[in-house]
């Protein structure tokens, strides 16, 4: 099977790169070995949230203080600014409506009720312009009975620390009770499937109106709108007060939705999406990959002019570690990981863990290095790239989006 470009990995970066290429008419195939980290999404994309332990106000300005190995440093300030705009409009074209500004962070509210800097937040989710206050004086945070994947007491505590009066009325519905009959499966995403039924949404709206009281806004965990925004639109229309969602613990309802939206858009543009398959062999001739084979298609090799590695970090198996080493499993590309496993991590889980910054090394065009030299028709994007810790910097989704677009641009510029 022949394509112009084959992308390995179907997460945020792979899909974004695929869309950017497919909409110029390129024949693109994405090989996705299972689902991706968008399922842990918090409702906001982040460009750069934190440098040296302090919140970043203007991400575009703060980029200059990043390490040389950081993917943004390879693009430069101007390209970052330009691609950030492009990313926002691409998301919009895929039906993912967001608000935010790359020159000025706003704040998202986490599932623990903490504020963190954000770049683009999905419309409908609660945000605030300041780290220490909310735009409402008094809110009702809706408690869905026995929904244990939302630590609502922590959120109430967090919101109160933002100088807001918080009430926590409980909503009981038959459809929630039915979901709770499962000891394990009343997750955010399963509740969201319950609320794809408009009758259940109407019941929810009615119940909220009955308990909301005299507040400036109603907030509730984001358990509505898993396949599209219809259910949340209906809910908002029926709830009398202004209403906003707060992200939950995974699996993320909004993550599932935008994952599907990006995939639909990619397929609508003619892209081929091979879900549940993995590229397990790449044939290298000199500095070029000539073809790849997948686990499922076996004797049908996939051939393309360019290959994009968007396989993610350890948890997505784009990087593999064992007792002896860290390596990139497809091409054994150069990584920035030291040999001794004792050096990969440190005590204190939420510190600056070295392994979080591991990944493949590339040249300035994001062509990965093998034995110190770049491969000529291979690119690496997203979390498989080394040189940045997305948890301490707050730049994970931004790096995924922007490197995907930068590489798409590099590929298109070649002609």
């Amino acid at each position: 099977m022949k394509f112009d470009t084959i992308i390995m990995g179907g997460g945020l970066s792979g899909l974004t790169c695929g869309i950017a290429l497919a909409r110029t008419g390129k024949r693109v195939a994405i090989v996705a070995g299972g689902q991706n980290t968008l399922h842990f999404f918090g409702g906001s994309f982040e460009l750069l949230g934190n440098v040296d332990g302090a919140d970043v106000t203007n991400p575009l300005e703060a980029i200059s203080s990043l390490d040389q190995q950081h993917p943004y440093s390879k693009m430069g300030h101007e390209q970052v600014a330009q691609l950030a705009e492009q990313a926002k409009s691409l998301l919009g074209d895929a039906g993912i409506k967001t608000s935010g500004d790359s020159a000025r962070n706003h704040y998202r509210i986490t599932p623990l009720g903490v504020t963190k800097p954000a770049w683009l937040t999905l419309d409908g989710l609660a945000t605030t312009d300041r780290p220490d206050s909310l735009p409402w004086k008094k809110v009702a945070l809706i408690n869905l009975e026995s929904f244990i994947d939302y630590p609502i007491d922590f959120v109430v505590e967090g919101l109160r620390a933002l100088n807001t009066t918080v009430e926590m009325p409980t909503v009981t519905l038959e459809c929630i009770k039915r979901a709770r009959r499962s000891a394990t499966e009343m997750r955010a995403t399963n509740l969201a499937k319950v609320f794809t039924n408009t009758r259940n949404v109407a019941q929810l709206a009615e119940a909220i109106n009955a308990v909301a009281g005299d507040v400036d806004a109603v907030l509730m965990p984001a358990v509505v709108g898993i396949d599209n925004e219809d259910a949340s639109d209906i809910l908002k229309a029926q709830v009398e007060k202004p209403m906003y969602f707060l992200p939950t613990l995974p699996p993320s309802v909004s993550g599932v939705r935008i994952n599907a939206a990006l995939r639909h858009y990619f397929q609508m543009l003619g892209g081929r999406f091979l879900l549940g398959d993995t590229v397990d062999k790449a044939t290298l001739e000199g500095d070029r990959v000539t073809r790849v084979n997948t686990a499922k298609l076996q004797d049908t090799p996939l051939e393309a002019d360019q290959y994009v590695l968007a396989t993610g970090s350890f948890m997505s198996k784009g990087l593999v570690s064992n007792f002896e080493r860290v390596y990139e499993p497809l091409l054994d590309l150069d990584t920035n990981a030291p040999k001794e496993h004792a050096q990969w991590s440190q005590f204190g889980l939420m510190g600056d863990q070295p392994f979080m910054s591991y990944g493949v090394m590339t040249d300035e065009h994001f062509r990965p290095l093998k034995d110190g030299k770049p491969l000529s028709n291979v690119y690496a994007i997203g979390q498989v790239l080394g040189g940045h810790n997305p948890l301490t910097l707050g730049d994970g989704t931004g790096v995924s989006l922007l490197t995907a677009l930068a590489v798409a641009q590099n590929i298109l510029d070649q002609k």
Binding site: G34, Q35, T189, K193, T294
Partner: protein, 418 residues
């Protein structure tokens, strides 16, 4: 010490599970039936406890459709569905009911039914019979049983096709499956048309038994194993002695014989697996390699919505069928979203599962209605029953669409067939 902690090996990779819970998002059963513990709990979580003590086996695991959508979604390559089926195989103490045995023995019941097809079809459609089946057999009364054909495919083949097959330059064996044989011989005829047009003679296997997918689903593993051995023996003969690879027109039969045989049943399919293919894949590869060409009728027009059957998704082969369909100039293709139709073989026929089955399918049915296709296309026969019953839209196998779309004479000419 050379191998210390370089890889992690566990039964169906259950230990690779990161508890990320992504599989639960894509389980069609957990979404509609709170009695089912969900793939994570039923699979890798439960497995650790079952290793400690078999009493942790939960009979609710029988609610699993075995659709394997959990496996497709899993980013860690945990074979969740296999774990669940294996646990059922190992621990279940319930004997299959008569109803389940009848549903599972598709070829036995099929051969009886074909003999008396007009009567069977008449009585299967009759209200009182349906009520009795509902009450006595616990087969849901809403179900329309697939009609039995008066003439089995094998009989048609022997009478009308067999004699011409030896004249072709290339040859394949065709595993037609129970559905083509008893219910819908037309698909088999279409396959013969298409393959003959590109210069391939189509032959039956020496001995063909039902692949056993329904036996596995209904807990009759011994019988499934036996039938698997018969099929493998016939296929080995076809491959080794006649040099004929085997093709099928059913994604489920193919998946069962390629993957469930070794993984679940312990039936060895070495040296067969790589020669056993779905017809769409076989054709696509021939075309891709420039071995054969297709010529299409200029007047052919059709809007088709392609549904990826669960086991097709698990095999990762939908692309072969869709790429083949895309080759047809007059065909407008809509790829439906990845959702289960809810039938899952015999699962949806059971009274206790009917509601779950239809609830699962509802998302797909709505998508089909929205797509407004002339036909739905899928590679699975049980999806066909479910979709036709639930949406009223006719369903065609991609091979049948090809048979309609190609200009047979022109194709023969392109491929040097007299």
């Amino acid at each position: 010490m050379a191998t210390t902690q370089l890889t992690s090996i566990s039964d169906h990779n259950f230990e690779q599970c990161l508890k990320c819970s992504i599989c639960t998002v894509y389980c069609p059963v957990a979404a509609v039936n709170p009695a089912y513990p969900g793939p994570k709990q039923a699979g890798p979580d439960g497995e650790r406890y079952r290793l400690k003590d078999p009493k942790f086996f939960d009979e609710a695991l029988k609610l699993c459709l075995n659709c394997k959508r959990c496996e497709v979604a899993c980013p860690s390559d945990v074979r969740i569905g296999d774990l669940i089926q294996q646990a059922r195989m190992k621990h279940t103490t319930h004997r299959p009911k008569l109803r389940d045995m009848m549903l599972a023995n598709t070829d036995l019941v099929g051969s009886m039914a074909t003999i008396v097809a007009p009567i069977t079809n008449f009585s299967l459609g009759l209200k009182p019979v349906k009520v009795v089946m509902d009450a006595v057999m616990a087969i849901d009364k809403h179900r329309t049983f697939p009609a039995y054909s008066a003439q089995k495919f094998e009989a048609w083949y022997r009478k009308n096709a067999q004699a011409q097959q030896d004249k072709f330059a290339h040859h394949v064996s065709y595993f037609h499956g129970c559905y083509v044989n008893y219910n819908f011989p037309q698909l088999g005829k279409d396959l013969v048309t298409v393959m003959n047009a590109v210069g391939y003679g189509v032959h039956l296997l020496d001995k063909e038994k039902c692949c056993g997918v329904a036996l596995i689903a209904n807990g009759m593993y011994q019988q499934a194993r036996k039938q698997g051995e018969v099929n493998m023996a016939s296929m080995r003969k076809s491959i080794n002695q006649m040099r004929r690879p085997i093709i099928t027109t059913s994604s489920t039969c193919t998946f069962t014989m390629r993957d469930e045989y070794p993984e679940l049943l312990g039936v060895n399919n070495d040296n067969v697996r790589e020669h056993l293919s779905l017809a769409t894949r076989f054709l696509f590869q021939l075309i891709d390699e420039g071995e054969v060409k297709l010529a299409f009728r200029p007047d052919f027009k059709m809007r088709v919505a392609y549904h990826t059957a669960c086991h097709m998704q698990r095999m990762g082969w939908a692309i072969y069928s869709t790429e083949l369909l895309r080759m047809i100039p007059g065909l407008e293709l809509v790829e439906l979203d990845q959702n289960c139709c809810g039938i899952s073989g015999t699962y949806g026929f059971k009274k206790e599962n009917y509601e779950t089955s239809q609830a699962i399918g509802s998302i797909l049915f709505a998508d089909i209605e929205a797509a407004k296709p002339d036909y739905v296309s899928t590679d699975c026969e049980t999806c066909k029953w479910q979709i036709e019953m639930s949406t009223g839209v006719k369903v065609l196998n991609p091979i049948s669409i090809l048979a309609q779309a190609i200009d047979v004479e022109a194709t023969q000419k392109l491929n040097g067939v007299r």
